[in-house]
């Protein structure tokens, strides 16, 4: 033990970083959960903006819709729809883990893939539902 690890200037060993690991569904789902969470944090600002614009009367609401209806606005809204679907489904997966279910390697991988497929389907279904004129049923 001549090479004392705590000697000043000694290169301390680093724990393996992200680039070392082979990409897997479970790890990607974990990263996506955090990323969608951060995206939805931005979404809370859009929710506040929408509520304020509605409270400001017709012109206020129009000012929101002009931005929301642009192609970039729609892409962002699709991103929020998918993020919400993913974060909720993967959150339920996390809650199941907290209760001790679904920890086996096979199950965790399968539920991870399922969350990606289902969340995409939900986001596409939401947009298809609106585009085919089924939205606005609360009028």
């Amino acid at each position: 033990m001549a090479d004392h690890p705590q000697r000043p200037g000694h290169e301390r060993p680093l724990s393996p970083h992200l680039s070392i690991y082979r990409w897997q569904v479970t790890m990607l789902a974990s990263i996506t959960h955090r990323a969608t969470g951060i995206a939805l944090a931005v979404g809370t600002l859009v929710l506040a903006w929408w509520l304020v614009s509605v409270s400001n009367g017709p012109e206020g609401y129009e000012s929101f819709m002009v931005v929301a209806a642009t192609p970039i606005g729609l892409i962002i809204l699709f991103g929020f729809a998918w993020s919400l679907a993913f974060h909720m489904l993967n959150g339920i997966r996390h809650l199941a883990w907290d209760m001790g279910y679904g920890f086996s390697k096979v199950t965790a991988t399968q539920t991870g893939s399922l969350v990606y497929v289902l969340s995409l389907l939900i986001a596409v279904a939401i947009f298809a539902f609106v585009w085919t004129g089924h939205g606005g049923y609360l009028q």
Binding site: R34, A41, L47, L51, V54, Y61, E62, M88, G136, L138
Partner: protein, 124 residues
């Protein structure tokens, strides 16, 4: 800073116990039905006009559910963003700044949403 009681309770270097963990889970559970209601509400209001949205949000139950959704989501958000900061921000000063910013943003957005809902309820 650790009092003897703090030490005895096993709160040592982490400065807190399992409170954060539980609050994250409790708000997550609450957000499942609230998020489903929010999706139902938004889809039902897309393509309508601001009159329909105003009258929907002015109904007490809808206003309460929207306020509950916004407040619960924002609290859940602040807990989640705190973990991100805990993981990636290491300087003490920067960390305190980020954590304060998250909490201020949470309260500011929450107050804004609730004030907007009160204005909507008062306008109809």
């Amino acid at each position: 800073m650790s009092t003897p009681l703090h030490r005895v309770q096993g709160l040592g270097a982490a400065h807190s116990g399992t409170g954060h963990f539980w609050r994250q889970r409790i708000t997550a559970i609450a957000l499942v039905p609230l998020g489903l209601w929010f999706t139902y509400a938004i889809l039902g209001l897309i393509g309508t006009n601001e009159v329909a949205i105003l009258s929907f949000l002015a109904q007490p139950l809808n206003a309460l559910l929207m306020a509950a959704f916004a407040a619960t989501m924002l609290y859940h958000m602040s807990l989640g963003l705190q973990v991100v900061v805990d993981d990636y921000v290491h300087g003490t000063g920067t960390k305190i700044f980020c954590l304060l910013l998250i909490r201020f943003m949470m309260i500011a957005t929450m107050v804004t949403c609730i004030f907007a809902l009160i204005r909507i309820a008062a306008s109809t």
